[in-house]
């Protein structure tokens, strides 16, 4: 069992999302940085989709009430286990009674805790993700609060080659990402596929879309990211019919400044869509903090497929190499 000693709002139990219920208006929820959660799970020998905890606000303190193996991935939150500092992207055994403290990340936005066997909350509509707006899933259908006790699944105790644990190479060191000829060194580059209303935008707007940079505003959260920058306009702003919205959709409201819909976004809407961020780059956006500059680069479906393949290979390599450094303790 994991006890939440202290937590700010907006931290919740998530897995890789809830799919199959769009007909009810239920969106996918799930970890904003799926790569981080999947990597942590796989390093522990879990299925990639077991539930972990997503942390968006800090500091957080947890107490473990059982011996269990954990993985901490995503943004480097300078974790300490009792008094011992842990490197980021680290996998280690914790002992009952130990306290884990997570601090505000200096870079990145969201950190993930995976545990061997997963957070054992009930599966609701096929997933353990928290659907905060609709009040179900995850832990009691809501973000975590001090005093919450999260059940962990019983399972074989794991042993690592080194008692200090082992590390996972963070994905930004491995996954190549997009290239944008106008990008400054710190710009986030998001690879996109043009969407159904792309051709409705005027030439100046399409040029700006391909070249300009936007800033992530503070009105950016699990529902979506609001960007500040060049205003995009359609040639003939007709009324839109309402359509399905998925994570990654870049909507352009009348103000002209884009909104990127994300995990907890509305599942339908009526703003025109100029493009959609490829699945493989959503984790990068999840780690972009307000103030970050970003640019869009249009890619092909083949490019997007190559990105998915690259990501799948990274996760498979993590799973395989970690399995060599990990064993189940007999009799535990």
């Amino acid at each position: 069992m994991i006890e939440i000693i202290q937590t700010p709002p907006l931290n919740s139990v998530q897995d890789l999302g809830r799919f199959g219920y769009r007909s009810y208006g239920i969106g996918c929820a799930g970890a904003m940085d799926r790569v981080a959660l999947a990597a942590g799970n796989l390093a522990l020998g879990n299925g990639a989709n077991l539930a972990g905890i997503e942390f968006q606000l800090f500091p957080v303190q947890l107490r473990f009430h059982c011996d269990i193996a954990i993985a901490l991935t995503g943004a480097d939150c300078s974790p300490t286990l009792d008094v011992h500092s842990l490197p980021p992207w680290w996998v280690v055994n914790v002992k009952a009674g130990q306290v884990l403290t997570l601090n505000s990340p200096l870079g990145g936005m969201r950190s993930y805790l995976a545990v061997a066997g997963g957070i054992d909350v009930p599966v609701v509509l096929g997933s353990r993700s928290t659907q905060s707006r609709d009040g179900f899933g995850g832990f009691a259908g809501r973000p975590l609060r001090a005093g919450d006790q999260l059940p962990t699944a019983p399972g074989p105790a794991l042993q690592f080659r080194d008692s200090f644990g082992l590390g996972i190479q963070p994905p930004d060191a491995v996954l190549k990402g997009g290239y944008h000829s106008w990008a400054a060194p710190d710009d986030l580059i998001l690879r996109v596929i043009p969407a159904s209303e792309y051709d409705q935008f005027d030439a100046a707007s399409l040029h700006a879309f391909k070249t300009a940079s936007w800033t992530v505003t503070v009105q950016s959260n699990r529902m979506g990211y609001r960007l500040a920058g060049t205003s995009l306009q359609r040639m003939n702003p007709t009324e839109m019919r309402s359509q399905a919205i998925v994570a990654g959709v870049i909507q352009v409201p009348p103000s002209g400044e884009p909104i990127i819909q994300l995990s907890d976004g509305n599942s339908a809407g009526g703003y025109p869509k100029i493009a959609i961020v490829i699945q493989s780059d959503l984790w990068r956006l999840a780690q972009a903090a307000p103030g970050r500059s970003l640019r869009f680069v249009e890619v092909s479906l083949d490019d997007a497929r190559a990105a998915r393949t690259e990501q799948a290979k990274y996760l498979a390599d993590v799973a395989r190499l970690c399995s060599y450094c990990r064993s189940s303790r007999a009799g535990a």
Partner: protein
Amino acid sequence: MSNGITILEQPRVSYCGDHGLLLEAEGDLALPTQERIWAVNEVVLGWPGVLDTQPGMNSLLVLIQTDQHDPVEYHDRLLRAWGDSQSGRRAGKLLEVGVVYGGEGGGDLPDVARFHGVDIAEIVQLHSAAEYTIFAPGTGPGFGYLFGLDPRLFIPRRKVPVMRKVGGTVSIAGAQAILGGPKHPNAAATAPTGWHVIGRAHDVPVPFDIARDPMSIVSLGDRVRFRIERIER
């Protein structure tokens, strides 16, 4: 600048990022067209590799399991399925709700009346006379997007969203109408909206309850009527 609605002459299938496809029907919103959308939806749900689908107003989103399949495999097949589809009446149920039009709960009613240059009674009459059909799921679990708004009531979405009290909202925008469910206990009292709230259905039933079987009290093709409780000026 036109505030009309784009009407396609031909159906088209475009890609929704790298994990989905969007089918858009030709022609204007119409019940027979949407019946075909529902029919294609049923067909597509039976295809291997489909993760989820979602009808929209004259559209259908198809999401693919991209660890095993690629959206390109479905492009032509989806267009063909549309070509093969036929309309057909669904025997849906009828939901009737009483509405207090205008007043504090329907604060945008006077503006809608002004936009059309008529008295609010005229707006209320046109809105409540129609029978609406649930065409597509909405922005969350609820009563979905309603078709059937009298063309004389068409009014563009707001350019700048405004904050409006939630709970039983009766709203219109573009050519569409919506009915809001009761306020969720955890929800904020107000929410931003680009729609025009013209009334309030104080006794609207809870549309979706995860503990209930069936979870949703309405389905695509069901109909909604609004009954005038009173008009507040």
